[in-house]
């Protein structure tokens, strides 16, 4: 590949969604066809570019683009194995979500604004994945907050505005604290590129206190989006957003941005050795384990489908944090692969919840009785997603939990296996009854608000196809985990590169 491409490909990947987004803002409501074509054009270009980059990174190439920004911290975009994991995830799921959103929002007002911000949101996510240093990461992290706020309040009702305010209060506070931490670290070591093995080791002696403070500040800032324990309050409330937005928030954009930031921080800023030297892993591990149990526990009591899924997200995202915090290669594989697997599973579940709500007006779990006969495909997809969350083989969820368990054994933290088992049990306890209701209980009354969206399928095809796509994907990722194309092998490649330095 020519050096020109190597320089501008990361930028092109961001622009492929940013430019259509900006054009969409200027379109009129009635220009539906043009808007849809622009959206799909952006998605396709992005996928092709990502594919190109994926091939090249696999072959060992590096991508690097920089603009002068702050002294000692340029605006750097770089494509390495870890960033590609997140880029591929967000691009593929963006495709599914775009189609879903087009179907979901058909005939609703203010669609130009919605799709404009939608594209900005994905651009910010991809930028965050490609960010080459902490300052660039911070920049996209804040942009993501700004781009998602209009989506959360899109309905414009009092309830969604309240949720939006809470969301902003949490994420902006988190952003400011992250900025404080990044500034502290910058004053100590500047902001070099993310490097496997970290870059703080050089200033370790004499600055232990400040480094620990910086780590704590940054984890707090990232923890808000990753919904770590005391900072998770915004997530269940942000459920009032339209279904495609919830799906995006939970599977790709916001929550994952926090988790991805924690991965970068632990492996590429501090590095395993400094983490050991500063004894930072243990508290992070405890926090993540507590969040896993707490999220599952709270999910048990929720009667609203989306709220139950929201608490489940709180729990599941912390698996990623936990896998990272264990600092062992196997656990890292588990955490990284869960980043992808959780995304695909959770997006399936949210699509399904949206389908039930759109087609039949179902929002509560007790209304799901017998839905398997009316909407078999959606119910099947939901079942697969739920089984994946519990960790039943051969779904994708099993693979990540297997590696996390192995990792816990490897770093000799047997109590973590207990945490996994307990959380798995609770997962089963809140998902299995739902599955039971869908398939084995008779319909208890007329559906709350039934709509015939299609003559041929159980619901509108644009709502159905993305669900089928992600449901198949999550099974394939489990069944073909051993092949070269799977996220698992990619996670292994990343871990190999991350841990190779020592």
């Amino acid at each position: 590949m020519s050096p020109f491409w190597q320089q501008y490909l990361p930028l092109a990947i961001i622009l492929s969604s940013l430019l259509p987004g900006l054009i969409i803002f200027t379109l009129k409501e009635t220009q539906v066809k043009l808007r849809i074509s622009l959206n799909l054009l952006g998605v396709s270009i992005k996928l092709v570019l990502v594919l190109l980059m994926w091939q090249a990174v696999k072959a060992g190439q590096q991508f690097y683009f920089s603009l002068p920004f702050l002294p000692g911290a340029d605006l750097v975009l770089q494509g390495d194995a870890l960033s590609l994991l997140f880029v591929v995830l967000s691009s593929v799921l963006w495709l599914a979500t775009t189609i879903y959103a087009i179907g979901y929002l058909e005939h609703s007002p203010l669609r130009s604004r919605f799709f404009g911000y939608f594209s900005l949101c994905v651009s910010a996510t991809v930028g965050l994945a490609l960010a080459g240093n902490l300052v660039t990461f911070l920049l996209f992290y804040e942009l993501l907050t700004l781009a998602t706020f209009p989506l959360v309040v899109h309905r414009g009702t009092a309830e969604s505005l309240a949720a939006g305010r809470k969301y902003l209060a949490y994420t902006l506070s988190g952003g400011v604290i992250l900025m404080l931490g990044v500034a502290l670290l910058h004053s100590l070591v500047q902001s070099p590129l993310f490097t496997p093995g970290g870059y703080v080791a050089a200033v370790l002696s004499g600055n232990e206190g400040l480094l620990m403070l910086a780590f704590a500040l940054m984890i707090t800032g990232l923890g808000v989006k990753a919904a770590l324990l005391p900072l998770h309050g915004w997530l269940p409330q942000a459920m009032v957003a339209p279904a495609p937005v919830s799906a995006l928030l939970h599977a790709v954009a916001v929550v994952k941005a926090g988790a991805f930031g924690i991965i970068r921080l632990v492996y590429d800023v501090f590095g395993v050795e400094s983490m050991y030297a500063l004894q930072l892993a243990q508290p992070l591990m405890l926090l993540a384990a507590a969040t896993i149990l707490y999220g599952s526990w709270r999910a048990l009591a929720q009667q609203d489908i989306k709220r139950r899924l929201a608490y489940s997200t709180i729990s599941q995202v912390s698996y990623i944090t936990l896998g990272v915090a264990m600092l062992g290669p196997l656990a890292a594989v588990g955490g990284l692969v869960h980043l992808v697997h959780q995304g695909v599973m959770k997006i399936t579940l949210f699509f399904c919840a949206g389908n039930f709500a759109e087609t039949l007006g179902i929002h509560k779990i007790r209304e799901l009785n017998g839905v398997g006969r009316r909407m078999p495909i959606t119910a099947m997809a939901f079942t697969l997603g739920a089984l994946g969350m519990i960790g039943v083989p051969p779904t994708a969820g099993f693979i990540s939990k297997w590696y996390l368990g192995l990792g816990a054994a490897e770093v000799e933290q047997p109590w973590l296996i207990l945490v996994f088992a307990l959380s798995g049990l609770m997962n089963a306890a809140y998902f299995l009854p739902v599955i039971y209701r869908m398939w084995f209980l008779p319909q208890s009354g007329p559906w709350p608000a039934e709509q015939r969206l299609s003559n041929r399928f159980e619901t509108h095809w644009m709502l159905l196809f993305p669900v089928i796509f992600t449901a198949i994907l999550l099974v394939l990722m489990g069944v073909f985990a051993g092949t070269e194309l799977s996220p698992l092998s990619w996670a292994q490649l990343i871990v190999e590169r991350e841990f190779r330095h020592d």
Partner: protein
């Protein structure tokens, strides 16, 4: 070149009085030409270092001397560009908003006063500029008609009082040292009771004119009462004039002991302004008052940076100080123009008027939000650059956790008042209907400075370099 920057607006103002019909055109023309000249000045100063001229060939000491260093030239560029922008906005709206004919010559005089102020390095010349600035500003506020009489009078009295305090200080110094040129005065400076008293008097006067907490009470009423283009000029530029003189006094004249004694006071005033101004902005029900209180709060950053600069003598704080001034000027101009446009179109002064504005006037609302991002300090905006410099300075200094904590709190406070408006704008329940079809051009003009403040980051490296080495 510098003379041209002074003569053009003066000549323009005189011609406008003679031919009122072409006044808008003349204003635009002067501002445009001056912007080009200012741009050239910036590039020349950054290449050759600071320029100094003595007017009319008199020997130094007698002649009026003008000095353009990189900071002054940047401020001149800012002044002329904002002047041009505001004039364009005024041209686009003056039929609708019934802006008085006095606006055109007065705004040119304002530009003259500011340009002269950035270039002067002599205490008495600075006083003259200050007076010119004050009178022009008061007259501009009173353009709003009857409802602005009271705030304008208030502004006039306080402004005159401030000038008198300053003049008294100047007289004391002249009696003691016999010179008024700042660099000459600095050579003979002694830290004694007299010089301290003079400094305190001048500082009081300047703080009053710059609306630095706790002497800010006149600002919200005056800035809110003025027509939108005038508020933009006042908040963006006029309050920065006295601030500039204040920095000259304390950074170039005051002895280290005096500066050290004053530093905590400035820091305290800055924090108090940020905190109390922010709270006031959060509580006020009126749209323009909110923006005006935000000016009080944001000036606190500059005061805080000045205090820290005096205390620690760290060049990063100098950079932070002037970055705040530049970023705030652009952002505040955008805010006032956007809010002015929205209140004019939606018909109402209260914040509630902006309900649903993201549907009815998306462009203006976007301009406000983008400018607000810089006020909060979100990356990659000019406000972020300034805050970053401040944070870097504090972390490098070490053991300044209290300040850092305070900065977190006030950042969130500013986010609260900006997003209070933005959240209101996304309310879809009962959007306020526009009184007439929204005009597109003024909305774009409000957006331009907001985009410019985000574009500042593209030039962060040269900006930081210039401002750090310059200090003043």
């Amino acid at each position: 070149m510098m003379v041209l920057l002074l003569v053009l607006p003066l000549l323009g103002a005189l011609l406008m009085l003679l031919w009122p019909k072409v006044a808008p055109l003349l204003t635009l023309l002067t501002a445009a030409v001056c912007s080009l000249v200012a741009l050239q000045l910036v590039s020349r100063v950054s290449e050759q270092g600071s320029l100094q001229i003595l007017l009319a060939g008199w020997p130094s000491g007698l002649a009026i001397s003008l000095e353009a260093n990189s900071l002054s030239s940047l401020l001149i560029l800012l002044t002329t560009v904002l002047q041009l922008l505001v004039a364009l906005y005024a041209v686009a709206t003056y039929r609708r908003d019934k802006l008085g004919a006095g606006f055109w010559p007065l705004s040119s005089l304002l530009q003259l006063g500011l340009t002269a102020l950035w270039l002067s390095r002599d205490l008495f010349n600075l006083y003259v500029c200050l007076e010119l600035l004050g009178i022009a500003a008061v007259a501009l506020v009173s353009l709003s008609g009857d409802k602005a009489i009271k705030p304008a009078l208030n502004y006039l009295l306080l402004s005159l009082f401030g000038s008198l305090c300053y003049l008294l200080g100047v007289a004391m110094l002249y009696g003691a040292y016999g010179v008024l040129d700042i660099s000459a005065l600095a050579l003979q400076w002694q830290a004694n009771l007299l010089s301290s008293a003079a400094l305190v008097l001048m500082t009081l006067g300047l703080m009053l004119k710059a609306a630095l907490w706790p002497l800010h009470a006149w600002l919200p009423a005056a800035h809110a009462a003025a027509p939108a283009p005038v508020s933009a000029l006042l908040s963006a530029l006029v309050v920065k004039g006295p601030l500039f003189i204040l920095c000259l006094l304390w950074l170039q004249l005051a002895a280290t002991t005096q500066a050290q004694a004053m530093a905590p006071l400035f820091s305290f005033c800055g924090l108090a302004a940020l905190l109390l101004g922010g709270i006031a902005a959060l509580r006020t029900p009126l749209a323009k008052n909110m923006v005006a209180y935000s000016t009080v709060a944001q000036l606190g950053y500059a005061t805080l940076a000045l205090g820290l600069l005096l205390q620690f003598n760290q060049p990063l704080f100098a950079a932070a100080l002037w970055l705040f001034v530049l970023a705030h000027a652009l952002a505040k101009a955008a805010c006032f123009l956007a809010i002015g446009e929205m209140t004019a179109t939606l018909g109402g002064k209260r914040l509630n008027t902006l309900k649903g504005a993201s549907q009815t006037m998306p462009l203006a609302m976007f301009a406000f939000a983008v400018a607000g991002g810089s006020l909060i300090g979100l990356p990659p905006s000019g406000g972020f650059l300034a805050k970053w410099a401040l944070l870097q300075g504090l972390w490098l200094q070490g053991d300044q956790l209290l300040y850092l904590l305070a900065i977190v709190v006030v950042t969130l406070l500013s986010a609260a008042y900006v997003f209070r408006v933005v959240a209101l704008a996304f309310d879809r329940a009962k959007p306020v209907k526009p009184d007439f079809a929204p005009h597109i051009v003024p909305q774009w003009l409000a957006l331009l400075p907001a985009l410019a403040v985000w574009a500042m980051t593209l030039y962060s490296e040269p900006l930081l370099r210039l401002l750090k080495q310059e200090g003043l």
